[in-house]
Symmetry: C2
Subunit: 233 residues, 2 copies
């Protein structure tokens, strides 16, 4: 456990906590503890009795499901300020894994449930975030089922550009945007319902067509956003 103060928490105003004022948050502070996970480390396993509840502070995590014979699909991703867990439910349904080194602010389930009961605003916010996650999942269903590999990869790069764009560099004010992917090829394939080879080929094609540059294995430069959007459909 890491000592911490909610006052200087990086997601204080963005996560569920944002619904509590500085006095109310003391309750939450009392039961939360910061926990670190290294890249690749599992936070929870599908079928676990014990449930993790908490806010993501930094890093990135994935939720994944798999078939009996080992085919795997990433069914959700978690970024800072996102909430993990299922208060009022028992048993994890999906495996949660850190995609990069990550820190969570975790709460024991029962005390956290009590706290939700006492703070309707926080429960309301959890409902809103759950609605948003459901909408995301459903949008992704359309992509997984109906879009081509080309559309999937182009759309993925645009999503990542939007997410990573803040930290990223532009050569000039409106020039090409460069950023690092937080995922390797295999993780991209898991997310898009493709194979590693297909993802690699699609990226190579985008590069060959001058739409992106790949200055490093994790780095991407978007050279022609309009054409990238056209390919995303």
């Amino acid at each position: 456990m890491t000592q911490h103060h909610c006052a200087d928490c990086s997601v204080r105003k963005l996560s569920l906590c944002g619904t509590l004022d500085d006095r109310e948050i003391a309750d939450l502070r009392a039961i939360g503890r910061r926990q670190q996970f290294r890249k690749g480390e599992a936070v929870a396993w599908a079928g676990d009795e014990r449930m993790v509840c908490g806010n993501v502070l930094s890093g990135a995590l994935k939720l994944s499901a798999s078939t009996g014979d080992g085919r795997e699909q990433t069914v959700g991703t978690l970024y800072p300020s996102d909430f993990v867990g299922r208060p009022f439910e028992r048993g994890e349904h999906f495996t949660v894994t850190a995609l990069s080194d990550s820190e969570l602010c975790v709460f024991p389930q029962r005390p956290f449930e009590d706290l939700l009961e006492r703070h309707a605003k926080m429960e309301r916010q959890l409902l809103r975030q759950t609605f948003a996650a459901l909408d995301d999942a459903r949008k992704q269903m359309l992509t997984l089922a109906r879009r081509s590999a080309t559309e999937k990869v182009a759309g993925f790069l645009l999503d990542m550009a939007a997410r990573e764009g803040g930290k990223a560099a532009r050569a000039t004010a409106n020039g090409p945007l460069t950023f690092d992917l937080p995922l390797n090829r295999g993780q991209i394939a898991d997310l898009l319902g493709l194979t590693i080879e297909t993802v690699s080929r699609q990226l190579t094609k985008l590069k060959a067509d001058g739409i992106v540059a790949l200055p490093g294995v994790r780095a991407v430069t978007i050279r022609d956003e309009a054409r990238l959007r056209a390919r995303a459909g």
Copy 2:
């Protein structure tokens, strides 16, 4: 509007309403009205400003998303006691259509939100149902992205058998189960991320292999559940 009494409502104990006692439900009764939709009729359109909130009383509905060029995917289905709508949010994200003649108990959004605020138990139940819908969506993502047409169709028939099994007929106590599909081939294809032709061929194959019989175009008899499960993976 249809006159109604909550006391004899078919989903009184199953839906959100089940969290309210007979005195509390008067508030809900006051703002709800029953509304009928015919097969194929749209209940709401993606992008609508105005939001429908309500409980499904009878029938079946689908939520669907589509790409710019018209490819469509069913991203969720609604059955009696399920809730439609997004209290505390603005704007529909998906199109809601009646798959068969359906009846809903609909509430104007604002008064319904007020009611949720006054009845924490009902909001809790909405949260639980939303968690369940999210889990369903994520399970379906695995199917859409990673399972073969054979597995999809076999799994679909098992799901339907479980759902329709109650109303259905068995020749003998443990004999083959026969039931009617509430969906036509095109709707099954939309749900599974396949084409009509592929669904038809998979069903023909299951019939040829003696695993199911197709006594009518909407009827299915499961003759060998074990082998059907094996194909579902």
